[in-house]
């Protein structure tokens, strides 16, 4: 039984179709990634699932039950970490976490324990008496997370939790999400950072213009595209004729030379690099550093939409 099941969800803002027959199916124990550029409909989808937004068509079920605005029994099993830091500026770190935990847990002793654990989890022990205004951006994000997870929900929505966060805090947040998942929580993670999604998600849905472009595991999505490997070779001077020879190699889909760097996008295969280097040596072309990268989700997005994910 899927924990989250969305069928044919349609959401319109006037003439703009924000969600176009969206289908989502998330199983228990997954870290499910919603990947797409800004404005692709990720947050709208989450807000519809959580019944904050009305929608024009579709069915939403959580934990096998139809989700409605008044289903507080279902809401009590969910944790949400919104995109914006949404806490009380006048309450301390501990008071904020306690307040949000109290929306789900009424027993004070149990809550005190959960709050302590949440503070430990996000590493805010030294800041419990601080108000949010005194915290750095990264620490505020951690507080935002602690407020969403303190009650130990079964299903947690993280909506772009690493926006405007330094790399160190970002890694800490991503590690924390994996720990929550390891402790049994199902995670829905939205981001427009493909590296993050690749790093932590067991299954990924790529969205654009409110539509599902592709859905599958990281490896499965990459296998869907023709590009198997991207090879970059540093060459001081590459005559155009040699570049044409490289392009004509059977394993090369396309190649470009710019700023002393040759970029060749190759088919799936094991001898791509060898073939190119052999050609360069035959032509007497000196080369420097060599990079070989597997295809990225950006390549997947590029191949499906014809544009970069970051556009």
């Amino acid at each position: 039984m899927p924990i989250v099941e969305v069928k044919n969800l349609v959401k319109r803002y006037g003439d703009l179709v924000a969600l176009d027959h969206l289908n989502v199916d998330i199983q228990a124990g997954e870290v499910f990634g919603l990947l797409g550029p800004n404005g692709s409909g990720k947050t709208t989808a989450i807000n519809c699932i959580l019944q904050l937004l009305t929608y024009d068509k579709g069915e939403i079920s959580l934990f096998g039950e139809p989700m409605k605005p008044g289903r507080y029994d279902l809401k009590r099993r969910i944790g949400v970490v919104p995109q914006e830091v949404a806490v009380f500026d006048e309450l301390t770190v501990r008071e904020n976490i306690d307040y949000f935990c109290a929306l789900y847990v009424s027993d004070r002793a149990q809550r005190a324990k959960l709050v302590d654990e949440a503070i430990d989890f996000v590493g805010l022990n030294d800041f419990v008496k601080f108000r949010p205004g005194k915290l750095s951006g990264g620490l505020k994000r951690r507080l935002n997370i602690a407020c969403g997870i303190a009650h130990k929900p079964e299903l947690i929505f993280f909506d772009e939790p690493t926006v405007a966060v330094d790399p160190q805090s970002r890694n800490s947040i991503l590690e924390g999400i994996l720990r929550l998942n390891a402790e049994g929580a199902t995670v829905v993670y939205t981001s427009h950072y493909m590296e993050e999604v690749e790093q932590i998600c067991s299954r990924i849905m790529i969205m654009d213009h409110g539509q599902t472009l592709a859905c599958g595991t990281n490896a499965g999505l990459k296998a869907m595209v023709g590009t198997g490997e991207k090879i970059q070779i540093e060459i001081l001077d590459l005559p155009p004729a040699i570049l044409e020879n490289i392009r004509s190699l059977p394993c090369v889909q396309r190649a470009a030379y710019d700023d002393s760097m040759l970029q060749a996008f190759c088919n799936n295969g094991v001898h791509n690099l060898g073939s190119i280097l052999e050609l360069l040596q035959q032509q007497g072309i000196a080369f420097g550093r060599i990079y070989s990268e597997p295809p990225t989700l950006n390549d997947v997005f590029l191949e499906i939409t014809g544009k970069e994910l970051r556009d």
């Binding site: 803002y13 937004l53 507080y72 949404a86 500026d89 307040y99 929306l103």
Partner: protein
């Protein structure tokens, strides 16, 4: 729900703007009022000697009149008149035109006094009272003189009877002074009551701030709370309850400060005053909730609406001095329904009714009016907040 109530209260108490405008501002303003109005009643009812002119024309028949004038103007500290003696009509008229005297008295050949008073009356001075007193002095003299002359003509022997003379010189009072009001009327207390009306409207900021944080379409925090495990009804109940309590405590502090620190007279009906403050807090919270629930408007604009409403409605409650008080009274006379819709005026009237009237009917009338205002505002707020889901955030 208990945690929501407590943390909402904590968050509101720690908001600097709320502490300044809801708690400190009324205390500061009432202190200023007190220093401005402390001598108002004393000055308003303090009769200074009435400046007047007596024209001495050497008429021997005016001896009795001169004696009376001497008695009334002899410098005893509480003398009724301050008399300037002149010898010509021109001098008297000059003094009258200069405005330094209220009127002048001249005697005809038979010694009958006549009073000429200034045609110009300053409405903010004691001129009108002084003119009445001066006229009364002259009229009394003329009446008494006529009585003596009549007795002398009809029964001269009676003038030798000391008991008759004594009864003629006494003034019999055939009326009894009773108070039909609960307290003696003091104008300045109305400013303090109007200030409580002003404070009530300013306290709507509490409800505004609280409600903005519960609504998904008004703040990210509201959106987050709306998807939490506590029902919307309970969240709103706890939030509105906390707002009401803070408004109530703020107004109660203001009342206690005026009543006990500044000694403002509230008619000695403290329990009813507290009940009135509780009702005023309800209006305040309902107003804040109503304005706070307006969608697609910035918090600053909503705060501006409350400040603007407070200032305008306080004008019609008589907060800004005598002209404002006169305007409030005029509106209450000519368009009573407009006054009934003004919560600042209703709150001011509520405290005045406790101070002034001997029974509680006017107080309950104000309480009912305020309850109706609170109910109307609450219904509007409920309509604005009825949605559980939104087309957009």
């Amino acid at each position: 729900m208990r945690s929501t109530f407590i943390y909402t209260l904590k968050a509101l108490i720690r908001e600097r703007g709320i502490i300044i405008w809801v708690i400190l501002f009324p205390l500061v303003l009432s202190t200023l009022f007190n220093s401005m109005f402390s001598n108002l009643e004393k000055e308003a009812y303090n009769l200074n000697p009435i400046p007047c002119v007596v024209i001495d024309n050497g008429n021997s028949s005016s001896q009795a009149f001169s004696q009376m004038i001497d008695v009334l103007s002899s410098d005893t500290g509480n003398n009724l008149l301050a008399v300037t003696h002149v010898t010509s009509m021109e001098d008297a008229q000059d003094l009258l035109q200069q405005g330094s005297v209220v009127g002048y008295i001249q005697l005809d050949d038979e010694g009958t006094p006549s009073l000429t008073i200034s045609p110009v009356v300053n409405p903010n001075s004691m001129d009108a009272v002084n003119r009445t007193v001066l006229a009364d002095v002259v009229d009394n003299y003329i009446r008494s003189r006529a009585t003596f002359e009549s007795i002398a003509a009809s029964n001269p022997a009676a003038l030798a009877d000391s008991s008759v003379m004594q009864s003629l010189s006494q003034t019999e009072e055939y009326t009894r002074q009773i108070s039909i009001t609960h307290s003696s009327s003091a104008q300045s207390v109305r400013y303090f009551y109007a200030l409580l009306g002003f404070s009530t409207l300013m306290a709507a900021t509490v409800g505004l701030q609280a409600i903005v944080r519960t609504q998904p379409n008004l703040s990210p925090l509201g959106a987050r709370r709306a998807i939490g495990g506590l029902s919307r009804t309970r969240t709103l109940a706890a939030t509105i309850g906390a707002s009401w309590l803070l408004s109530f405590v703020g107004l109660l502090l203001g009342f206690a400060y005026m009543r006990y620190a500044l000694g403002i007279d509230f008619g000695g009906r403290d329990a009813a005053c507290v009940a009135g403050i509780a009702m005023a807090s309800l209006v305040s919270t309902a107003l804040g909730t109503c304005i706070g629930a307006i969608p697609k408007m910035r918090d600053g604009a909503k705060g501006g609406i409350i400040t603007g409403l407070t200032c305008i409605l306080s004008l019609f409650a008589g907060l800004y001095g005598t002209p404002s008080l006169n305007l409030a009274d005029q509106v209450a006379r000519t368009a009573p329904w407009l006054s009934a819709l003004n919560p600042a005026k209703q709150i001011s009237d509520l405290f005045y009714s406790l101070y002034f009237y001997p029974d509680y009917d006017p107080f309950f009338h104000c309480m009912f009016g305020l309850a109706a205002i609170a109910a109307i505002l609450a219904i509007i707020a409920a309509i604005l907040m009825r949605r559980q889901r939104y087309a957009s955030l």
